[in-house]
Symmetry: C2
Subunit: 222 residues, 2 copies
Amino acid sequence: MKAVILLSGGLDSSTVLAIAKNQNFDCYALTVNYGQRHTVEIDRAKNIAEKFGVKQHKVVNLDMRWIGGSALTSDIPVPKDRTEDDSIPITYVPARNTILLSLTLGWAEVLGAHDIFIGVNAVDYSGYPDCRPEFIKSFEETANLATCEGVEGRKFKIHAPLIEMSKAEIIKKGTELCVDYSLTISCYDPDEEGRACGGCDACKLRREGFLKAQIPDPTKYI
Amino acid sequence: MKAVILLSGGLDSSTVLAIAKNQNFDCYALTVNYGQRHTVEIDRAKNIAEKFGVKQHKVVNLDMRWIGGSALTSDIPVPKDRTEDDSIPITYVPARNTILLSLTLGWAEVLGAHDIFIGVNAVDYSGYPDCRPEFIKSFEETANLATCEGVEGRKFKIHAPLIEMSKAEIIKKGTELCVDYSLTISCYDPDEEGRACGGCDACKLRREGFLKAQIPDPTKYI
Protein backbone atom coordinates (compact mmCIF):
# COMPACT_ATOMS: atom_id res chain seq x y z
CA MET A 1 0.00 0.00 0.00
CA LYS A 2 1.20 3.45 -0.91
CA ALA A 3 1.36 6.42 1.43
CA VAL A 4 2.36 10.03 0.80
CA ILE A 5 4.35 11.70 3.55
CA LEU A 6 4.80 15.45 3.86
CA LEU A 7 8.48 15.72 4.65
CA SER A 8 9.94 19.06 5.71
CA GLY A 9 13.30 17.82 6.85
CA GLY A 10 12.43 18.54 10.47
CA LEU A 11 12.33 16.30 13.49
CA ASP A 12 8.58 15.66 13.41
CA SER A 13 8.12 14.82 9.74
CA SER A 14 11.20 12.59 9.74
CA THR A 15 9.71 10.64 12.64
CA VAL A 16 6.45 10.36 10.73
CA LEU A 17 8.27 8.93 7.73
CA ALA A 18 9.83 6.32 10.01
CA ILE A 19 6.40 5.46 11.43
CA ALA A 20 4.84 5.08 7.96
CA LYS A 21 7.76 2.92 6.85
CA ASN A 22 7.39 0.80 10.00
CA GLN A 23 3.72 0.27 9.10
CA ASN A 24 4.94 -1.27 5.82
CA PHE A 25 3.69 1.45 3.53
CA ASP A 26 5.44 2.13 0.25
CA CYS A 27 6.47 5.67 1.03
CA TYR A 28 6.27 8.63 -1.35
CA ALA A 29 7.70 11.82 0.15
CA LEU A 30 6.65 15.35 -0.78
CA THR A 31 8.73 18.36 0.18
CA VAL A 32 7.51 21.84 -0.63
CA ASN A 33 9.93 24.69 -1.06
CA TYR A 34 7.55 27.45 -0.10
CA GLY A 35 10.07 30.25 0.15
CA GLN A 36 10.81 29.63 3.83
CA ARG A 37 13.89 31.28 5.28
CA HIS A 38 15.26 27.97 6.30
CA THR A 39 15.75 26.38 2.85
CA VAL A 40 18.47 24.22 4.33
CA GLU A 41 15.45 22.08 5.29
CA ILE A 42 15.17 21.00 1.65
CA ASP A 43 18.64 19.43 1.56
CA ARG A 44 18.00 17.71 4.84
CA ALA A 45 14.72 16.35 3.50
CA LYS A 46 16.58 14.87 0.51
CA ASN A 47 19.08 13.11 2.78
CA ILE A 48 16.36 11.73 5.01
CA ALA A 49 14.20 10.52 2.11
CA GLU A 50 17.21 8.72 0.65
CA LYS A 51 18.13 7.18 4.00
CA PHE A 52 14.63 5.73 4.36
CA GLY A 53 14.59 4.43 0.79
CA VAL A 54 11.37 6.15 -0.26
CA LYS A 55 9.91 5.06 -3.60
CA GLN A 56 9.87 8.63 -4.86
CA HIS A 57 10.72 12.03 -3.40
CA LYS A 58 9.18 15.10 -5.04
CA VAL A 59 10.51 18.53 -4.19
CA VAL A 60 8.04 21.10 -5.40
CA ASN A 61 8.35 24.86 -5.62
CA LEU A 62 5.41 26.83 -4.37
CA ASP A 63 6.53 30.27 -3.39
CA MET A 64 4.26 31.46 -0.57
CA ARG A 65 6.17 34.70 -0.08
CA TRP A 66 3.57 36.60 -2.11
CA ILE A 67 1.02 35.75 0.61
CA GLY A 68 3.20 37.44 3.24
CA GLY A 69 2.20 37.95 6.85
CA SER A 70 4.67 35.52 8.43
CA ALA A 71 8.18 35.69 9.83
CA LEU A 72 8.96 32.43 8.03
CA THR A 73 8.25 33.79 4.56
CA SER A 74 8.86 37.53 4.75
CA ASP A 75 11.25 40.09 6.21
CA ILE A 76 9.59 40.03 9.62
CA PRO A 77 12.29 38.88 12.10
CA VAL A 78 11.92 35.48 13.77
CA PRO A 79 11.21 36.15 17.47
CA LYS A 80 13.75 34.81 19.95
CA ASP A 81 13.22 33.91 23.59
CA ARG A 82 9.50 34.41 23.30
CA THR A 83 7.73 34.11 26.62
CA GLU A 84 4.81 31.75 26.61
CA ASP A 85 1.42 33.29 26.15
CA ASP A 86 -1.78 32.33 24.42
CA SER A 87 -1.32 34.29 21.23
CA ILE A 88 -0.48 32.73 17.89
CA PRO A 89 3.08 33.75 17.00
CA ILE A 90 4.23 35.62 13.91
CA THR A 91 5.88 32.45 12.60
CA TYR A 92 2.37 31.25 11.70
CA VAL A 93 2.14 30.98 7.90
CA PRO A 94 -1.46 31.68 6.83
CA ALA A 95 -3.19 28.55 5.56
CA ARG A 96 0.12 26.69 5.23
CA ASN A 97 -1.01 23.23 6.23
CA THR A 98 -4.20 23.55 4.18
CA ILE A 99 -2.09 24.40 1.14
CA LEU A 100 0.44 21.62 1.82
CA LEU A 101 -2.23 18.99 2.41
CA SER A 102 -4.08 20.06 -0.76
CA LEU A 103 -0.99 19.53 -2.88
CA THR A 104 -0.37 16.18 -1.19
CA LEU A 105 -3.96 15.19 -1.85
CA GLY A 106 -3.60 15.93 -5.57
CA TRP A 107 -0.49 13.80 -5.86
CA ALA A 108 -1.94 11.02 -3.69
CA GLU A 109 -4.99 10.79 -5.93
CA VAL A 110 -2.83 10.38 -9.04
CA LEU A 111 -0.59 7.81 -7.32
CA GLY A 112 -3.58 5.84 -6.05
CA ALA A 113 -2.41 6.38 -2.46
CA HIS A 114 -5.14 6.81 0.12
CA ASP A 115 -2.97 7.36 3.15
CA ILE A 116 -1.46 10.77 3.77
CA PHE A 117 0.91 11.38 6.68
CA ILE A 118 1.64 14.75 8.26
CA GLY A 119 3.79 15.53 11.29
CA VAL A 120 1.58 18.05 13.05
CA ASN A 121 1.64 18.14 16.80
CA ALA A 122 -0.72 19.86 19.21
CA VAL A 123 1.16 19.33 22.49
CA ASP A 124 4.64 20.85 22.32
CA TYR A 125 3.84 23.26 19.51
CA SER A 126 3.56 26.94 18.71
CA GLY A 127 -0.23 27.19 18.89
CA TYR A 128 -0.86 27.13 15.15
CA PRO A 129 -4.56 26.45 14.43
CA ASP A 130 -3.73 24.13 11.53
CA CYS A 131 -1.88 21.70 13.80
CA ARG A 132 -4.96 20.71 15.83
CA PRO A 133 -6.93 17.45 15.57
CA GLU A 134 -10.15 19.28 14.62
CA PHE A 135 -8.39 20.81 11.61
CA ILE A 136 -6.99 17.45 10.47
CA LYS A 137 -10.38 15.77 10.81
CA SER A 138 -12.10 18.54 8.87
CA PHE A 139 -9.50 18.47 6.09
CA GLU A 140 -9.99 14.73 5.74
CA GLU A 141 -13.74 15.25 5.26
CA THR A 142 -13.11 17.98 2.68
CA ALA A 143 -10.60 15.75 0.86
CA ASN A 144 -13.19 13.00 0.50
CA LEU A 145 -15.71 15.44 -0.98
CA ALA A 146 -13.15 17.12 -3.25
CA THR A 147 -11.81 14.14 -5.15
CA CYS A 148 -13.00 11.45 -7.53
CA GLU A 149 -11.47 8.77 -5.32
CA GLY A 150 -13.22 10.07 -2.22
CA VAL A 151 -16.57 10.45 -3.94
CA GLU A 152 -16.31 6.96 -5.41
CA GLY A 153 -15.81 5.52 -1.92
CA ARG A 154 -12.06 4.99 -1.90
CA LYS A 155 -11.58 7.29 1.06
CA PHE A 156 -8.46 9.19 1.99
CA LYS A 157 -7.17 9.03 5.53
CA ILE A 158 -5.03 11.80 6.96
CA HIS A 159 -2.65 10.27 9.51
CA ALA A 160 -1.22 12.59 12.13
CA PRO A 161 0.47 10.04 14.41
CA LEU A 162 2.32 12.67 16.49
CA ILE A 163 -0.64 14.91 17.15
CA GLU A 164 -1.05 13.98 20.80
CA MET A 165 2.56 13.18 21.64
CA SER A 166 4.98 15.37 23.55
CA LYS A 167 8.25 16.29 21.87
CA ALA A 168 10.09 13.90 24.21
CA GLU A 169 7.75 11.04 23.26
CA ILE A 170 8.27 11.83 19.57
CA ILE A 171 12.05 11.71 20.01
CA LYS A 172 11.86 8.42 21.91
CA LYS A 173 9.64 6.90 19.23
CA GLY A 174 11.91 8.08 16.40
CA THR A 175 15.00 6.83 18.20
CA GLU A 176 13.39 3.37 18.50
CA LEU A 177 12.76 3.52 14.74
CA CYS A 178 16.37 4.51 14.00
CA VAL A 179 15.77 8.10 12.91
CA ASP A 180 19.12 9.87 12.70
CA TYR A 181 18.14 13.21 14.23
CA SER A 182 21.50 14.74 13.36
CA LEU A 183 20.18 14.90 9.79
CA THR A 184 17.05 16.82 10.78
CA ILE A 185 16.66 20.53 11.32
CA SER A 186 13.97 22.28 13.35
CA CYS A 187 15.33 25.85 13.64
CA TYR A 188 13.35 28.68 12.00
CA ASP A 189 16.46 30.78 11.56
CA PRO A 190 19.56 28.65 11.00
CA ASP A 191 22.83 29.95 9.62
CA GLU A 192 24.10 29.05 6.17
CA GLU A 193 25.70 25.86 7.38
CA GLY A 194 22.40 24.74 8.87
CA ARG A 195 23.39 25.32 12.49
CA ALA A 196 20.45 26.09 14.77
CA CYS A 197 19.96 29.49 16.45
CA GLY A 198 18.95 27.96 19.78
CA GLY A 199 16.52 30.78 20.61
CA CYS A 200 13.45 30.42 18.40
CA ASP A 201 10.35 28.49 19.49
CA ALA A 202 11.29 25.50 17.35
CA CYS A 203 14.80 25.28 18.85
CA LYS A 204 13.49 25.54 22.38
CA LEU A 205 10.88 22.82 21.93
CA ARG A 206 13.45 20.57 20.33
CA ARG A 207 16.12 21.11 22.96
CA GLU A 208 13.67 20.52 25.81
CA GLY A 209 12.43 17.41 24.03
CA PHE A 210 15.87 15.81 23.99
CA LEU A 211 16.43 16.80 27.61
CA LYS A 212 13.15 15.28 28.78
CA ALA A 213 13.68 12.16 26.67
CA GLN A 214 17.16 11.82 28.20
CA ILE A 215 18.58 11.28 24.75
CA PRO A 216 21.72 13.18 23.68
CA ASP A 217 20.84 16.18 21.48
CA PRO A 218 22.81 15.85 18.19
CA THR A 219 21.81 19.37 17.04
CA LYS A 220 24.63 21.70 16.02
CA TYR A 221 24.00 25.14 17.49
CA ILE A 222 25.55 28.42 16.36
CA MET B 1 -15.36 45.29 2.92
CA LYS B 2 -12.73 43.30 1.07
CA ALA B 3 -13.34 40.17 -0.95
CA VAL B 4 -10.93 37.88 -2.76
CA ILE B 5 -12.15 36.50 -6.09
CA LEU B 6 -10.57 33.52 -7.83
CA LEU B 7 -10.40 34.73 -11.40
CA SER B 8 -9.49 32.30 -14.16
CA GLY B 9 -10.38 34.51 -17.10
CA GLY B 10 -13.33 32.30 -17.97
CA LEU B 11 -17.01 33.09 -18.27
CA ASP B 12 -17.98 31.92 -14.79
CA SER B 13 -15.30 33.60 -12.70
CA SER B 14 -15.72 36.87 -14.62
CA THR B 15 -19.42 36.81 -13.79
CA VAL B 16 -18.55 36.16 -10.16
CA LEU B 17 -16.25 39.19 -10.11
CA ALA B 18 -19.14 41.30 -11.47
CA ILE B 19 -21.43 39.92 -8.74
CA ALA B 20 -18.93 40.70 -5.95
CA LYS B 21 -18.39 44.19 -7.36
CA ASN B 22 -22.16 44.70 -7.52
CA GLN B 23 -22.35 43.74 -3.82
CA ASN B 24 -19.97 46.65 -3.14
CA PHE B 25 -17.00 44.59 -2.09
CA ASP B 26 -13.50 45.96 -2.60
CA CYS B 27 -12.33 43.27 -4.95
CA TYR B 28 -8.94 41.53 -4.87
CA ALA B 29 -8.48 39.08 -7.74
CA LEU B 30 -6.25 36.00 -7.65
CA THR B 31 -5.26 34.17 -10.81
CA VAL B 32 -3.20 31.00 -10.61
CA ASN B 33 -1.06 29.93 -13.50
CA TYR B 34 -1.06 26.23 -12.71
CA GLY B 35 0.49 25.01 -15.92
CA GLN B 36 -2.83 24.64 -17.73
CA ARG B 37 -2.69 24.24 -21.52
CA HIS B 38 -4.83 27.27 -21.99
CA THR B 39 -2.49 29.93 -20.57
CA VAL B 40 -4.23 32.49 -22.77
CA GLU B 41 -6.65 32.51 -19.79
CA ILE B 42 -4.06 34.48 -17.81
CA ASP B 43 -4.01 37.40 -20.25
CA ARG B 44 -7.77 37.43 -20.37
CA ALA B 45 -7.90 37.50 -16.56
CA LYS B 46 -5.63 40.55 -16.55
CA ASN B 47 -7.90 42.39 -18.99
CA ILE B 48 -11.00 41.52 -17.01
CA ALA B 49 -9.49 42.50 -13.65
CA GLU B 50 -8.47 45.85 -15.10
CA LYS B 51 -11.87 46.42 -16.65
CA PHE B 52 -13.56 45.87 -13.29
CA GLY B 53 -11.08 48.11 -11.47
CA VAL B 54 -10.02 45.58 -8.86
CA LYS B 55 -7.91 46.91 -5.98
CA GLN B 56 -5.19 44.37 -6.65
CA HIS B 57 -4.70 41.49 -9.06
CA LYS B 58 -2.18 38.80 -8.13
CA VAL B 59 -1.05 36.32 -10.75
CA VAL B 60 0.69 33.45 -9.02
CA ASN B 61 2.67 30.58 -10.47
CA LEU B 62 1.92 27.18 -9.06
CA ASP B 63 2.88 24.55 -11.54
CA MET B 64 0.53 21.59 -11.04
CA ARG B 65 1.98 19.62 -13.96
CA TRP B 66 4.08 17.52 -11.57
CA ILE B 67 0.83 16.16 -10.11
CA GLY B 68 -0.21 14.89 -13.54
CA GLY B 69 -3.29 12.81 -14.24
CA SER B 70 -5.28 15.43 -16.14
CA ALA B 71 -5.72 16.45 -19.78
CA LEU B 72 -5.51 20.09 -18.68
CA THR B 73 -2.04 19.81 -17.20
CA SER B 74 -0.34 16.97 -19.04
CA ASP B 75 0.06 15.47 -22.51
CA ILE B 76 -3.25 13.62 -22.34
CA PRO B 77 -5.37 14.98 -25.23
CA VAL B 78 -8.46 17.04 -24.41
CA PRO B 79 -11.49 14.93 -25.41
CA LYS B 80 -13.75 16.38 -28.10
CA ASP B 81 -17.43 15.66 -28.72
CA ARG B 82 -17.69 13.62 -25.58
CA THR B 83 -21.06 11.93 -25.19
CA GLU B 84 -22.72 12.50 -21.87
CA ASP B 85 -22.24 9.82 -19.28
CA ASP B 86 -21.83 9.68 -15.54
CA SER B 87 -18.07 9.40 -15.39
CA ILE B 88 -15.77 12.20 -14.33
CA PRO B 89 -13.82 13.31 -17.41
CA ILE B 90 -10.06 13.33 -17.85
CA THR B 91 -10.06 17.15 -17.73
CA TYR B 92 -10.54 16.82 -13.95
CA VAL B 93 -7.43 18.18 -12.21
CA PRO B 94 -6.89 16.29 -8.94
CA ALA B 95 -7.58 18.49 -5.91
CA ARG B 96 -7.49 21.65 -8.04
CA ASN B 97 -10.19 23.64 -6.29
CA THR B 98 -8.91 22.59 -2.87
CA ILE B 99 -5.46 23.87 -3.82
CA LEU B 100 -6.82 27.10 -5.35
CA LEU B 101 -9.09 27.84 -2.40
CA SER B 102 -6.24 27.16 0.06
CA LEU B 103 -4.02 29.73 -1.63
CA THR B 104 -6.90 32.20 -1.70
CA LEU B 105 -7.51 31.58 1.98
CA GLY B 106 -3.88 32.38 2.83
CA TRP B 107 -3.99 35.68 0.96
CA ALA B 108 -7.44 36.56 2.31
CA GLU B 109 -6.23 36.08 5.88
CA VAL B 110 -3.30 38.45 5.32
CA LEU B 111 -5.53 41.02 3.59
CA GLY B 112 -8.13 40.84 6.36
CA ALA B 113 -10.73 39.75 3.81
CA HIS B 114 -13.33 37.27 5.04
CA ASP B 115 -15.26 36.82 1.84
CA ILE B 116 -13.91 34.50 -0.84
CA PHE B 117 -15.68 34.13 -4.17
CA ILE B 118 -15.34 31.17 -6.53
CA GLY B 119 -17.17 30.52 -9.80
CA VAL B 120 -17.97 26.84 -9.38
CA ASN B 121 -21.16 25.54 -10.88
CA ALA B 122 -22.93 22.23 -10.32
CA VAL B 123 -25.63 22.45 -13.02
CA ASP B 124 -24.08 22.87 -16.49
CA TYR B 125 -20.71 21.44 -15.53
CA SER B 126 -18.38 18.56 -16.20
CA GLY B 127 -19.15 16.56 -13.07
CA TYR B 128 -16.06 17.54 -11.08
CA PRO B 129 -16.49 16.64 -7.40
CA ASP B 130 -14.90 19.90 -6.25
CA CYS B 131 -17.62 21.98 -7.90
CA ARG B 132 -20.44 20.72 -5.67
CA PRO B 133 -22.12 22.57 -2.79
CA GLU B 134 -21.10 19.90 -0.25
CA PHE B 135 -17.44 20.43 -1.13
CA ILE B 136 -17.72 24.22 -0.79
CA LYS B 137 -19.47 23.95 2.56
CA SER B 138 -16.85 21.51 3.85
CA PHE B 139 -13.96 23.67 2.68
CA GLU B 140 -15.49 26.64 4.49
CA GLU B 141 -15.57 24.65 7.74
CA THR B 142 -11.97 23.56 7.25
CA ALA B 143 -10.92 27.16 6.52
CA ASN B 144 -12.39 28.33 9.80
CA LEU B 145 -10.48 25.67 11.73
CA ALA B 146 -7.24 26.22 9.81
CA THR B 147 -6.72 29.94 10.35
CA CYS B 148 -6.14 32.38 13.19
CA GLU B 149 -8.97 34.56 11.91
CA GLY B 150 -11.41 31.66 11.82
CA VAL B 151 -10.41 30.36 15.24
CA GLU B 152 -10.71 33.84 16.74
CA GLY B 153 -14.28 34.09 15.47
CA ARG B 154 -13.81 36.25 12.39
CA LYS B 155 -15.21 33.60 10.10
CA PHE B 156 -14.51 33.17 6.42
CA LYS B 157 -17.38 32.74 4.01
CA ILE B 158 -16.91 30.95 0.69
CA HIS B 159 -19.34 32.46 -1.80
CA ALA B 160 -20.26 30.33 -4.79
CA PRO B 161 -23.05 32.44 -6.28
CA LEU B 162 -23.29 30.45 -9.53
CA ILE B 163 -23.41 27.02 -7.96
CA GLU B 164 -27.08 26.38 -8.67
CA MET B 165 -27.46 28.44 -11.85
CA SER B 166 -27.62 27.10 -15.39
CA LYS B 167 -25.08 28.41 -17.90
CA ALA B 168 -27.84 30.45 -19.57
CA GLU B 169 -28.80 32.04 -16.24
CA ILE B 170 -25.14 32.87 -15.56
CA ILE B 171 -24.82 34.55 -18.96
CA LYS B 172 -28.02 36.54 -18.41
CA LYS B 173 -26.86 37.66 -14.97
CA GLY B 174 -23.43 38.70 -16.27
CA THR B 175 -24.94 40.54 -19.20
CA GLU B 176 -27.12 42.55 -16.78
CA LEU B 177 -23.92 43.40 -14.84
CA CYS B 178 -22.11 44.47 -18.02
CA VAL B 179 -19.62 41.61 -18.28
CA ASP B 180 -17.97 41.77 -21.70
CA TYR B 181 -17.93 38.06 -22.53
CA SER B 182 -15.80 38.64 -25.63
CA LEU B 183 -12.90 39.09 -23.18
CA THR B 184 -13.49 35.74 -21.49
CA ILE B 185 -12.33 32.32 -22.59
CA SER B 186 -13.79 28.95 -21.63
CA CYS B 187 -12.16 26.55 -24.09
CA TYR B 188 -9.82 23.87 -22.71
CA ASP B 189 -7.85 23.71 -25.94
CA PRO B 190 -7.74 27.09 -27.68
CA ASP B 191 -5.28 27.99 -30.45
CA GLU B 192 -2.45 30.45 -29.93
CA GLU B 193 -4.66 33.43 -30.68
CA GLY B 194 -7.13 32.32 -28.02
CA ARG B 195 -9.80 31.10 -30.44
CA ALA B 196 -12.00 28.35 -29.03
CA CYS B 197 -11.96 24.78 -30.37
CA GLY B 198 -15.76 24.45 -30.26
CA GLY B 199 -15.65 20.74 -29.41
CA CYS B 200 -14.53 20.35 -25.80
CA ASP B 201 -16.97 20.14 -22.88
CA ALA B 202 -16.33 23.75 -21.88
CA CYS B 203 -17.01 25.05 -25.41
CA LYS B 204 -20.21 23.06 -25.70
CA LEU B 205 -21.59 24.23 -22.36
CA ARG B 206 -20.73 27.82 -23.23
CA ARG B 207 -22.23 27.73 -26.72
CA GLU B 208 -25.46 26.14 -25.49
CA GLY B 209 -25.62 28.71 -22.70
CA PHE B 210 -25.61 31.63 -25.12
CA LEU B 211 -28.19 29.88 -27.31
CA LYS B 212 -30.54 29.21 -24.40
CA ALA B 213 -30.05 32.72 -23.02
CA GLN B 214 -30.85 34.10 -26.48
CA ILE B 215 -27.84 36.36 -26.26
CA PRO B 216 -25.42 36.59 -29.21
CA ASP B 217 -22.29 34.48 -28.60
CA PRO B 218 -19.21 36.72 -28.94
CA THR B 219 -16.79 33.76 -28.82
CA LYS B 220 -14.27 33.49 -31.66
CA TYR B 221 -14.09 29.87 -32.81
CA ILE B 222 -11.27 28.27 -34.81
